[in-house]
């Protein structure tokens, strides 16, 4: 009797199709060895919302009865493998509704496996992933987060590379031969993809994570109220109004202590307070009221609230005043304005380093302009998740922001790259 329970933690919309291919791939591979399986997603809105952490699951077992035994129909409580297809999710997962921040390794069984697709080192990832009270293994699949969209799929082989790696992690359940066969038969499969899966299988290595390793912070959580404690009439109280920041100056809106949004973020804005002209546009346009108004009339994006949508960058009229940077380049949510006013020189150096950080470049929010998809996929090293970005990357965005109008007009042949909301309801 043997079974395997896996989850895929992914970004809503951007990786919805990727996650579903992986979980289907797991079940179809296991079926090759006569096993039974089921693939399903955690229900709710997350898969349909840009960037919101979401989950898909695959459970396989030797017999149907054993499968039923482990088939929690909502969310498995214990997992053998967590597959994290965007390394910034290692900072924790807060889903659509109020669940608190859940460590990426929360559901892993002792000696379970965390498989992360990342260009970061294990040390860097373990600064993000919370400490766990049981040892587990960390496996890094070298590659960028494969962010695409609802209507487009990024054929960078991530799905098959994950399956290949999984065959190394759980060879008793998923042999690499079964994986290869399932990939070949899949409507999205090919011989080249089988090769990619095999390469990942051969190259991937795990490393042990001790109970002393990891981010020591306690993730925020809260107690759900009892039925008789809840307000009647399906009502929730509003947040109180905000307060000045200091000396009666500035303004900081009150924010929910139990529902933050930062785990949705794959990029964050960094702000050059020295070039800001205080036009208020970022503050007005931010859909999440993230900006605190500082006593001197600057705008400081609050990193507990920011979901990383990039609108502030797009509306800021000053070139390179707001720049979106890969979230992986940061280890905390500290205020940039506090840093700036403490030491302006040091802040300038920090800001410059973030903007030009080439280790963490290659982050996009799905696609940021027409034609980026083609650019990214031009013959590239698949081990690194596709070709290096030529433009549209942090620090090099100015020409994509409309400052040089019509620059992409000629790419009318490119596919639709905008990320659409899912059908409503």
């Amino acid at each position: 009797m043997a079974h395997l329970i896996c989850e895929v933690v992914y970004r809503g919309i951007f990786q919805k199709n990727l996650a579903s291919r992986i979980t289907r791939g797991i079940v179809l591979s296991a079926r090759k060895a006569g096993k039974w399986g089921i693939a399903f997603g955690r229900y709710g809105d997350s898969p349909q919302r840009n960037g919101i952490p979401a989950k898909d699951f695959a459970i396989v077992a030797d017999t149907q009865e054993e499968l039923e035994q482990h088939m929690a129909r909502y969310e498995p409580k214990e997992l053998h493998v967590t597959i994290c297809v965007d390394d910034t999710l290692c900072k924790g997962v807060e889903s659509w509704a109020w669940y608190g921040l859940q460590p990426i390794n929360r559901l892993l069984l002792p000696n379970g496996h965390l498989l992360v697709s990342s260009t970061q080192s294990a040390e860097e990832l373990l600064k993000d992933a919370h400490k766990k009270d049981a040892p587990y293994s960390l496996w890094i699949l070298p590659g960028k987060a494969s962010l695409a969209g609802l209507w487009v799929y990024k054929e960078d082989h991530t799905e098959v590379r994950v399956l290949g790696a999984l065959a190394k992690i759980a060879p008793k359940i998923l042999s690499i031969e079964a994986v290869a066969e399932a990939i070949r038969e899949a409507e999205w499969g090919s011989d080249l993809k089988v090769e990619s899966a095999r390469k990942a299988y051969e190259r991937i290595q795990g490393r042990p994570v001790k109970i002393t390793d990891g981010n020591p912070e306690t993730p925020y959580s809260f107690q759900m109220p009892k039925w008789w404690e809840m307000r009647e009439g399906v009502t929730i109280p509003s947040l109180p109004i905000g307060k000045p920041i200091e000396g009666g100056e500035g303004y900081r809106p009150e924010r929910s202590a139990v529902f933050k949004k930062f785990s949705t973020r794959t990029m964050r804005p960094v702000i050059d307070f020295d070039t800001c002209v205080k036009c208020t546009l970022c503050w007005l346009q931010c859909p999440d009221s993230c900006f605190d108004v500082t006593p001197e009339g600057l705008y400081d994006a609050n990193m507990e609230a920011c979901c990383g949508c990039g609108i502030c960058e797009a509306v800021c009229p000053v070139e390179n005043c707001i720049t979106m940077v890969n979230e992986a380049a940061f280890d905390d949510n500290a205020s940039q304005w506090e840093m700036w006013r403490k030491d302006k020189g040091a802040y300038k150096a920090w800001l410059g380093a973030k903007i030009t950080d080439k280790v963490h470049v290659g982050r996009s929010h799905g696609f940021r302009y027409r034609g980026q998809y083609e650019e990214e996929l031009k013959a590239g090293e698949l081990e690194l998740g596709g070709a290096a970005l030529a433009s549209g990357i942090p620090g090099e965005n100015a020409d994509q922001k409309g400052l040089k109008p019509n620059v992409h007009e000629d790419k009318s042949s490119s596919i639709v790259t905008g990320v659409a909301e899912a059908p409503g309801g």
């Binding site: 289907r24 399986g37 399903f40 229900y43 059908p423």
Partner: protein
């Protein structure tokens, strides 16, 4: 995508697919070669819409796919299409189904054999997606035939059976197939998909005969009437509903003959009831945790069984009274509510209680409201129901008629 076919009686004529309950319904609709389908998005019904759209765009199904501007029109369109002789499909969820209510009401009286899927969803407010059965239960008194399914396989099979039953001239009534949101509509399981030639042996074409709206058959449908006519029309509908007891049994028998699988008893699934002291009951996917819990409880010597109702309308009251005659206590788990009902019970518990009123053996019956809004029915919840049933069996009476389980209190 296909994987190795398992040896089965009709092995050559069936292939395996990894599909969700919604996709399984779309497979069945393709095999049934439907003519008209209408769509208006609401989760989880939208998953069926998408699966059918893919079938049509992939050239696997030729049908009119009409996106309506709301659920009311959605059901109106297929109602009319059916009267001119089209095989139709439609569906919705939660308040979308409620928005179609005016049309749902008239469909049985017009004897329209529409097959609909209700992706069960909690009614607003609060806006939520999780499963509750109250949406489909809206129409339980109106002449709709109602059934619940619990797997992708059953979704596919029941859709075929539903057309066969609905389009039987003795019936000509609409059928709603209920599928639990998330647990069934969004879970992909390995499912046997039969060939079209096999399905053709089971499902004859739809002929509306003298009721068909056609220039060669001039009729008026749905005239306004006064009090001289209504009760007779209701009486006709009642007769058709009663005939469904026979027609459904015939359809399942034929299904077994053609496909070499399918249940002996169309009305409900019995799991380990043979020697059961306690019989738990429910509808839809809660069968899974209940079965797993029963297997665990049996290891401890507790003789618990499950009756999972498939058909709620017509309600198999005689069959149930027979199946329950040896139980020492009955626990009915309702994924619905009926505020202010007798004993504050859910809908199914109230119906089962009524079904047993004339029975010789009337064991204590306890209702459990559980799993509302998509809350998981846990193994612990099921152990609790069995425990409460055991104490009622011992006492020979019910302390309390209804319990709410899995609520934060």
């Amino acid at each position: 995508m296909t994987v190795a076919t398992q040896a089965a009686p009709a092995a050559i004529q069936e292939q395996e697919m990894l599909i969700s309950g919604s996709e399984a319904i779309a497979e069945a609709l393709t095999l049934a070669d439907i003519d008209v389908v209408t769509a208006y998005p609401i989760r989880p019904y939208d998953t069926v819409m998408q699966a059918i759209a893919k079938k049509i765009s992939g050239g696997k199904l030729v049908a009119e796919y009409i996106v309506a501007e709301g659920e009311h029109s959605q059901f109106e369109i297929v109602k009319h299409a059916s009267t001119v002789g089209a095989r139709v499909f439609c569906g919705s969820s939660g308040v979308g189904w409620a928005y179609a209510m005016e049309c749902l009401v008239v469909t049985p009286a017009l004897r329209v054999p529409m097959v609909a899927m209700v992706g069960n969803r909690a009614l607003d407010d609060p806006g939520a997606f999780g499963v509750e059965h109250n949406d489909a239960l809206f129409v339980r008194d109106l002449g709709w035939l109602l059934c619940w399914i619990d797997s992708s396989q059953e979704a596919l099979d029941t859709t075929l059976i539903a057309y066969r039953v609905a389009e039987d001239r003795r019936i000509f009534l609409p059928i709603a197939i209920s599928a639990d949101g998330a647990f069934l509509t969004h879970s992909q399981a390995i499912t046997k998909v039969p060939s079209k030639s096999l399905v053709d042996k089971f499902l004859p074409p739809y002929h509306r005969g003298d009721l068909q709206l056609h220039p060669d058959n001039p009729i008026t449908v749905a005239p306004q009437v006064n009090e001289d006519w209504v009760i007779e029309i209701r009486r006709q509908n009642n007769a058709a509903t009663e005939r469904a007891y026979t027609v459904i049994e015939e359809a399942y028998a034929d299904f077994r003959r053609v496909f070499g699988r399918g249940p002996e008893n169309p009305w409900f699934e019995e799991y380990m009831t043979e020697d059961a002291e306690i019989i738990l009951m429910g509808m839809g996917t809660l069968s899974l945790p209940v079965k797993v819990a029963i297997r665990k409880m049996r290891e401890d010597g507790k003789k618990v069984g499950l009756i999972r109702l498939r058909w709620f309308r017509p309600f198999p009251y005689e069959q149930l009274a027979r199946a329950l005659r040896k139980a020492r206590a009955i626990g009915v788990i309702d994924r619905d509510y009926s505020f202010g009902s007798p004993f504050g019970s859910g809908v199914v518990a109230t119906e089962v209680r009524a079904a047993l009123y004339n029975a010789e053996h009337r064991p204590p019956l306890i209702g459990f409201i559980c799993g509302l809004g998509g809350r998981e029915v846990t193994l612990e919840d099921v152990y609790k129901t069995a425990e409460i049933c055991y104490s009622a069996a011992k006492a020979g009476k019910t302390e309390r008629a209804t319990y709410w389980l899995g609520v934060r209190e």
